[in-house]
Every structure is written in C-alpha cells, then in structure tokens.
C-alpha cells in the first residue's frame, strides 16, 4: 500500500519534471492538458484492466481467463471498427457504445461456449479464448483492409497513452464506478465462482450474477480500449500475482489488485517513456514484453502447483461451471 502511494507520487513528480522542460507558464498548461490526464488514464487503465481480469477469472473458475484471453479486447476493437465504418463522424462516446456492446457480446459468447464444452484441461480455456479472439481480430483486420481503415484502427490495436489529452480520455473514468460496483458485488462473484450448485445452495442467482459480472468486466475493458487501445496481460498477470499472496476472496484482494494494477501500468509507462527518450514506445510493447515473461512463469507455477487441484477436480477442472446434469450423467456411466 505504502509502496504504491509512494510510487504514485514518483509518477507525478516524473510527469512534473518533464513538464518543467517547457518553461514556467506553459508548464502548468501542459501539466493540466496532457500530463495529469495521462496519469489518471494510466491509473484507471491499470485499475480497470486488473479488476476486469479478476472478475473474469473468478466467474469462469479459471486462472488463465482475462480480457485478453477471453476475447473481450478483440471484441471491443471490433466494435470500434463497426462504429468507424457505420458512423464515421461518431464521437468518442458513440464509439464507446459500440465497443461496449461488442465487448459484452463477445465475452458472453466466449463464456457460453466454454460452458457448453467441458474442458478437461485448465489451459484449454484460454487457448480457446485466444483462438476466438484471433478470429474476431481477423475479421476486424479484414474489414479494415476492405474499407481502408487500417490506419485509423491501428491506434486501437496497440495501446499507448501518447494521445491521451484533455477531452479525449474522460471516458476512462467510467472504469471507476464500475470498479466500485464490482466491489459491492464482490461476494456474489466469489460465490458464483464456486460453482452453480454452490451458489444455488446459498440462494444466489447463478446466471444473473455470471452475466452481470461479465458485463461489468467487459465494459471496464471496453472503456479502456476506446481510450488507450488494447493493453494485454495486465488483466491476467496482476490478479494472479495478488491471489498467490492474498488468496481469492475478492473483498480482500480487490483493492490490492487495483493498486498493483495501477502501479504495474505506471511503471511500464515510465519505462516506455524513458527507454528511447525523447521519443516514446507504445506501452503495449513494454507490457507485452514484461507480461509475456511473467505469463510463462505463471504457467509453470500453476502447472506445477495446480496439479493436485486438477486431479482432485478432474471432472470439473477447467470448465466454467459444471452443470449438475453432467455429474448425474457421470453417475450413470
């Protein structure tokens, strides 16, 4: 906690220092128009993406599901493309609406799909998600080529904060009320994450909470994608790392996850801006590099430590909620 506040402060100072370069009067202006929005956008992105990932992992009972591996990001991009195609003059909010709808729909389809097919292996679920995401991404790219939109689209394909200035980023604030909403329903998500029977037993409407939760996660993701573009891995890495130390009770981990997510993105952004200063790399690049290394490490960790759990819950492991019908049929065999 203290570390993260300290780190936030460092971030502000860093921004402030770079603002100093442009003289005294202009400094304030730049600070307000560009640096501050950028910082806020970074924080919202980190918080939003990691919380979205946390919700998705809980609801799908799979540690490898996230906005990236659950087709949410690519669906949101697809939505943006549709908005660009059909309403070329659409405002940021118009595009956001499309992105919201597409992200929610894409995530629902993915979850519906993995619920239908009971995977025996935990790793299969994200693989299917990545495939599904790539299919959507392929369609997006194809359409973009067809209509000469690749240039316009590319800014949403690779996440970066360099275009975040006042008037262009406010949408990302939407993540804040959604995260609060997630906190309010944290226990519901936890219970649904324990399975269909478990939640029915406690009188929690399984499907309602599942889809409401996924919608929240999808909307958070979409609001980030619309403003900064796709930023992968955060939704995957951050909740996992936090869960390793803090456990899976959402009420207990949500704040840590959010803070860690914010710090992670902030650090990546600082690296992105300093590595080839005065130019800057897209943050997606940095996050991608660090994220994929961590992801591989995580895979090994999970596979080594998860083996016991996989064996014990062989009939259900990996699948997103096992319908009791399945168990009953197993009984009949």
């Amino acid at each position: 906690m203290i570390l993260s506040i300290w780190s936030l402060f460092i971030g502000v100072i860093d921004v402030d220092l770079s603002g100093l370069l442009s003289g005294n009067l202009e400094q304030l202006e730049i600070f307000l128009i560009s640096r501050l929005p950028r910082l806020l956008a970074i924080l919202c992105t980190g918080v939003g993406m990691s919380v979205a990932g946390l919700i998705m992992q809980q609801l799908c009972m799979n540690k490898f599901v996230s906005p990236t591996t659950g087709a949410t990001i690519s669906s949101a991009q697809f939505g943006i493309l549709l908005a660009l195609l059909f309403m070329p003059n659409s405002t940021l909010w118009g595009r956001a609406l499309f992105a919201f709808a597409a992200a929610i729909l894409g995530t629902w389809i993915f979850v519906w799909f993995i619920q239908r097919i009971q995977f025996k292996d935990v790793v299969m679920v994200p693989l299917v998600g990545i495939m599904f995401g790539n299919v959507i991404g392929g369609i997006t790219n194809y359409l973009a080529y067809q209509f000469d939109m690749t240039q316009a689209l590319s800014s949403w394909l690779v996440g970066h904060f360099s275009l975040v200035v006042r008037g262009r980023f406010e949408l990302v604030y939407l993540a804040v009320p959604l995260v609060i909403l997630a906190f309010v329903f944290a226990n519901h998500f936890n219970i649904v994450g324990m399975g269909k029977d478990f939640s029915r037993n406690l009188g929690v409407p399984y499907n309602l909470v599942l889809f409401a939760g996924l919608s929240i996660a999808a909307m958070i993701t979409a609001s980030v994608v619309v403003v900064v573009g796709s930023i992968s891995y955060i939704g995957l890495i951050v909740p996992n790392v936090v869960a390793m130390f803090k456990g899976d009770r959402i009420r207990g981990t949500l704040v840590d996850t959010a803070l860690f997510g914010a710090v992670f993105v902030l650090v990546c952004d600082m690296i992105a801006r300093t590595v080839i200063a005065p130019y800057e790399l897209p943050i997606e690049l940095i996050v991608g590099i660090i994220g994929s290394i961590l992801f591989v490490g995580l895979l090994f960790y999970r596979l080594r430590h998860g083996r016991k759990a996989v064996r014990l819950g062989a009939a259900h492991a990996g699948g997103c909620a096992a319908p009791i019908a399945q168990a009953e049929r197993g009984d009949g065999v």
Partner: protein, 250 residues
Amino acid sequence: MKVTELTKQYDGKTVVDSVSFEIPKGKVLSLIGPNGAGKSTVMGIISRLIARDAGLVDFEGQDISRWKSKELSKRLAILTQSNQIQMKLTVRELVAFGRFPYSGGRITAEDEAIIDQAITYMELDEMQDRFIDELSGGQRQRAMIAMVIAQDTEFVLLDEPTNNLDIYHATNMMKIVRRLCDELGKTVILVLHEINYAAFYSDYICAFADGKIAKFGTVKEVMTRQTLSQIYKVDFEIMEIEGKPLSIYY
C-alpha cells in the same frame, strides 16, 4: 417434506420414474442404489438444483419451485460432489459464506459468533486461517460441513459425502452426520454408495433401482437379503453388529 410422482428424463431416457416418498423430520435418511438408479437426481430435484419434468415437491406446505431461492437457502442446504473448490479461500472465509443468505456480504457480530461456533463444532479452530486448497480431502469436507452448519438450516442434503475419502475420514464423516441429526436436530438426507454406512448411521433408507423406489423403510426393513439382492443383483448376507444389520456382498 413430501415428494409425489417425481419424474425426470434425460435425452428421452427416464432416470426418475414417478417417485413418491415422505421425508421424516429430524431423522437421517439415506438414498442408496446402484449407479444410474436416479438417487442423485432425486436429491438434485428436492434441493431445487435440478428441474423436474413432472411431480410435486412439497416443502413446508409450499412447492419447492415457489420458494424464494434466498428464503429456501435458510431452510435447506445442499452439498454436492461438484463442490470441488479450487479457490484460495481460508476455511473461515468459506464458512462465512454460509451466512450469505442471512446477511449478504456484510457479516454482523452475530454472524461472527455463529461462524465461530460452526468452526469449533467441526474442530477446525486450528486451521481456520489456512487455505482450503492446502487441506486434505477429509479436512476440506469438514470445512464444507462447517459452512452448512453456519447456514443454519433445518434440512441438510449431502450428495455422497464419503466419496474420495479413506475409511478413517469416511467413518468420521458419518459420525458427523449422526451428530448433525442427534445434537443439532437437523433432518439429514444423504446419497450413499456404501450400504453399510447407510445401515449403521441412518434411521431410514430409501433404495432406488431403475429410477423407481425399490424399497423405503427403516434400516431393518430395507436391509434384508432379498431386497438388497434384488436391487444390486448380487448375493448378500446380512449380519448383525451392535444391533444393526450389516451386509456382506460377494
């Protein structure tokens, strides 16, 4: 609780065929029978986890489907085999979920006291802050029972609670079941594979075969050579130990 003419089909195959029985209050009732006889399905239907195709489940004067899920969860608790938790929750956090129907996410001081009691009752005090995925199968099962105790329901339904447990833990589990009934006054309904556990620890047995009730009665009434051979289609001998009929099959 009274069940009338319950029927359930899967893909055109009838798995539960007009089953009717009444659950005696404050007793332990075991549902036994070969695989696919429909006992788990019946359990699922009377706990509203599975939708039935026909029939009635009367719970306290009202059909089970007309109960509000939240209200029902204060009266009836079910543990199924699919409760394989892969989540990193502490024992205490899990038990606290039992209070969810009462106080939602906000645990009151009263809830805390009930959670404490449940943990102590299941002798989990020392491991209440450990993560469930670090526990043994028997300990985990006890944590689940503690959650059900915290849920404070009159009816407790357990689907194969001894599954995957060794003899020591399985026997302890059955003793716990008996205590739930004798000490806490709960009505316990179990699905069991192990006939002798059913015979030794329950008051009533409901034996299923081919989706129908083959025999419903007290332990002594059901545990006969003839009935059991008919249901399981193997030879049985019945012996008496501590005044209870136990079976040997070969």
